[in-house]
């Protein structure tokens, strides 16, 4: 038997079938958590915000346009929640050092990937929040400049300048000589 489509699950969830929504959560929870983690760089906060994202989305499910994809929508809800969280909270002093693993690589390569990934995450975490969010929307959610401007309610010129400055800062941090 074929797995139900996202559309089927959403329709069932709208009729009050929370189990169907649970299935949707299972499908997209890792992606949503990673959106939160890239922006917050703290596992506890990222898990809490990812959970909050799904709870908020459940309440707003009737506003979701069934002609569109669920994944970009839920990821955008997560990004907005994280942005609000950053605006209302001081940056956490407890930033995580996560370990990225890829079983297909040799142990030496794995260590290298882990270290580089951690450097990238730390560089992202060090950006001002308004830079971090445009990087997230452009690089990880593939939004165009116009879409980012609409999403964040910013002028197009601000989106461009935030993105270029964010990349400049990232390049300085990541490509700086040791």
């Amino acid at each position: 038997m074929n797995a139900p489509t996202d559309r089927d699950l959403i329709l069932r969830a709208r009729r009050g079938d929370s189990e169907a929504y649970g299935e949707l959560v299972t499908r997209y929870q890792t992606g949503v958590f990673n959106v939160c983690y890239r922006i917050l760089h703290n596992r506890g906060d990222a898990e809490d915000l990812a959970q909050e994202t799904f709870i908020r989305a459940y309440d707003r499910l009737h506003t979701f346009d069934l002609e569109r994809e669920f994944s970009p929508w839920i990821r955008r809800v997560a990004a907005n929640l994280c942005l609000n969280h950053l605006d209302s909270h001081k940056p956490s002093a407890m930033l995580d050092e996560e370990r990225d693993e890829d079983k297909t690589q040799s142990p030496g390569e794995q260590v290298e990937v882990k270290e580089r990934s951690e450097q990238i995450r730390a560089a992202l975490a060090s950006l001002p929040s308004h830079y971090r969010i445009v990087v997230e929307l452009r690089h990880y959610q593939d939004l165009s400049y116009d879409e980012i401007a609409a999403e964040l309610q910013l002028p197009l010129s601000d989106v461009k300048s935030h993105l270029f400055r964010a990349r400049k800062l990232l390049a300085e941090k990541l490509h700086a000589p040791d």
């Binding site: 649970g22 890792t30 958590f33 990087v135 990232l170």
Partner: protein, 174 residues
């Protein structure tokens, strides 16, 4: 004249208004090509960031906890009903019978019971202290009275009910 950082960023973001002109410049300008290459490396690094795994499922709050009864096989549910019916019949038969016996049973007070147990315990200890292996004599078990037997049965029943309750609670949690 070289390309600006903004123009290079827009080019890599596919937001450039005139890609053909920029590409023509890049093919002739090593400096701009090198700057573009550095920027491309940054893009590649950001895009290759691996996803992290969750340590817990976020779906749990949306999935209703299954109740215990639907998990039980049908035959077991039927057995439970049969057991309940049998117990009811047994009680109906037993109550008049037990009520005729009850006046005959002398319920010992707690003090008497305690003294009785202590006496039996002391007797057992005495017996053990004088125990000699080569001269083993047959042990005379203390004779259990009807009241003691009833109390023991009641205690065992309580333990049985309590134990089953714990088991069911654990199953319900799972």
């Amino acid at each position: 004249m070289h390309q600006t950082d903004q123009e290079l960023n827009e080019y890599l973001d596919n937001e450039s208004a005139d890609r053909a002109a920029l590409e023509s410049h890049l093919s002739a300008c090593d400096e701009c090509a090198a700057r573009l290459s550095t920027l491309q490396n940054l893009f590649a690094e950001l895009d290759s960031l691996p996803e992290l795994a969750l340590t817990k499922s976020l779906a749990a709050p949306f999935i209703p906890r299954p109740s215990l009864v639907p998990q039980l096989p049908r035959w077991l549910t039927l057995t439970a009903f049969l057991q309940a019916a049998a117990a009811l019949v047994a009680l109906t038969v037993a109550i008049p019978f037990v009520s005729t016996m009850l006046p005959q049973i002398e319920t010992p007070s707690f003090t008497n019971l305690f003294i009785q147990l202590q006496t039996q315990w002391s007797a057992l200890l005495d017996m053990l202290s004088t125990f000699h292996f080569p001269e083993l004599e047959p042990l005379s078990l203390p004779i259990m009275e009807m009241s003691t037997l009833l109390i023991a049965l009641a205690v065992v029943s309580i333990f049985w009910i309590f134990g089953n309750g714990l088991l069911l609670r654990n199953q319900n949690r799972n």
